[in-house]
């Protein structure tokens, strides 16, 4: 007598069996027992105890995440230094009039003061809310982009002034985010 194959049994289990297999099952106690064994085996698989990782892998994941953020900050810092160097060069050459020069120096000084404030507030990567983190991250990215523009080319006087003003404004917003957080956590 021909019995059901494992394919047939699995198809029966899935409700996709052929007409032959379904008819055969009605008359064959052996195959009914095999199908029952299959059901039991699957039930036993589902009932296997949950396994837990012997070691905590979160520190490793966290380290990779923080390394990525540090990398982004370093890019920002390098860009900031390069932008300052370009500004120093521009001040030395003085390609613009005194009024623009004064405004540029003012914007640069404002930016430097805010940057100093930011360093005092600190930023260890831990934030109280995800919204603040996202905002800070977006601001840092925009500042880095401006630093990149200032560093990559010798900006024309008005363009340089605009970029430094934008940088100072963004730095102001970043300080606000960080200070708000610092106050919130009671630092």
């Amino acid at each position: 007598m021909m019995h059901c194959t494992m394919d047939d049994l699995l198809a029966l289990q899935a409700g996709e069996a052929s007409g032959w297999a379904r008819k055969h099952l009605e008359t064959c106690a052996v195959c009914r027992a095999e199908l029952e064994t299959l059901y039991q085996r699957v039930a036993q698989l589902k009932a296997l105890p949950g396994l837990r990782a012997p070691r905590d892998r979160w520190p490793a994941v966290r380290a990779v995440v923080l390394a990525g953020r540090d990398r982004r900050r370093r890019v920002w810092s390098v860009g900031s230094l390069a932008a300052a160097a370009v500004l120093a060069g521009l001040l030395l050459v003085r390609p613009w009039g005194t009024d623009l020069e004064a405004q540029l120096v003012q914007a640069q000084q404002r930016s430097a003061t805010l940057e100093s404030t930011l360093q005092q507030v600190g930023g260890d990567g831990r934030v109280m809310s995800g919204r603040e983190a996202a905002l800070a991250s977006a601001l840092e990215d925009r500042i880095a982009a401006i630093d990149g523009q200032l560093a990559e080319r010798q900006a024309k006087e008005l363009e340089a002034l605009n970029l430094w003003r934008q940088r100072a404004d963004l730095m102001q917003q970043l300080v606000q985010v960080r200070v708000t957080r610092a106050n919130y956590v009671g630092l």
């Binding site: 049994l9 299959l38 085996r41 949950g50 396994l51 837990r52 990782a53 979160w58 994941v61 996202a134």
Partner: protein, 179 residues
């Protein structure tokens, strides 16, 4: 292992913005089921731990793309299963499954009967067979879904499942020969 994990939407929202505390909370919530899935699919614990780590690195990188359609566990599980299957594929480049077949056949000749429990029997399956059994029978993936994840055909998934169950049945010493 039945998973009924729910995490607050606000936690997911915070995680999407890169909040480390929220990301760690997600890790803690899904660490056990991810590891369990990987460990059941893979031959050794070290590989399963690596899959756990790789899975959460991808979760951290891509949580912003999770749109909240379907259960978060389903999304994370999909990543974990794919990572485990990738590892199986990499292993298969180094050692063909002929070795596994030979190992299983060797044990089949012994009268191990009920002495071998189901976990050991699972370990004796080929890597692919074990993965398909776990994904289909326990995690509830369809053959179509498994085939897509593995880059194979539906009939491949079905035949792997049938072969694996035949081996399990033989290893566990159940009654008659089938097929």
């Amino acid at each position: 292992m039945t998973i009924s994990l729910t995490v607050p939407d606000v936690l997911v929202a915070r995680a999407k913005t890169g909040d480390l505390e929220a990301l760690e909370a997600l890790y803690r919530a899904f660490e056990a089921p991810v590891y369990n899935l990987a460990r059941r699919m893979l031959r050794n614990a070290e590989d399963a731990e690596d899959v756990l780590q790789e899975t959460f690195l991808e979760v951290v990188r891509n949580i912003g793309q999770y749109r909240g359609e379907g259960h978060l566990w389903g999304w994370i599980r999909q990543i974990a299963a794919s990572k485990a299957l990738m590892r199986i594929r990499r292993e298969q480049v180094r050692e063909t499954e002929v070795f596994d077949e030979a190992t299983a056949a060797g044990h089949a000749g012994h009268n191990v009967g009920q002495a071998l429990d189901l976990e050991r029997a699972m370990q004796e399956l080929s890597d692919t067979g074990r993965a398909v059994v776990w994904l289909h029978d326990v995690e509830g993936y369809t053959h179509e879904e498994i085939a897509e994840m593995m880059g194979k055909s539906v009939s491949f998934s079905k035949s792997q499942l049938a072969r694996a169950h035949t081996k399990l049945r033989r290893t566990l010493g159940a009654g008659m020969e089938v097929g």
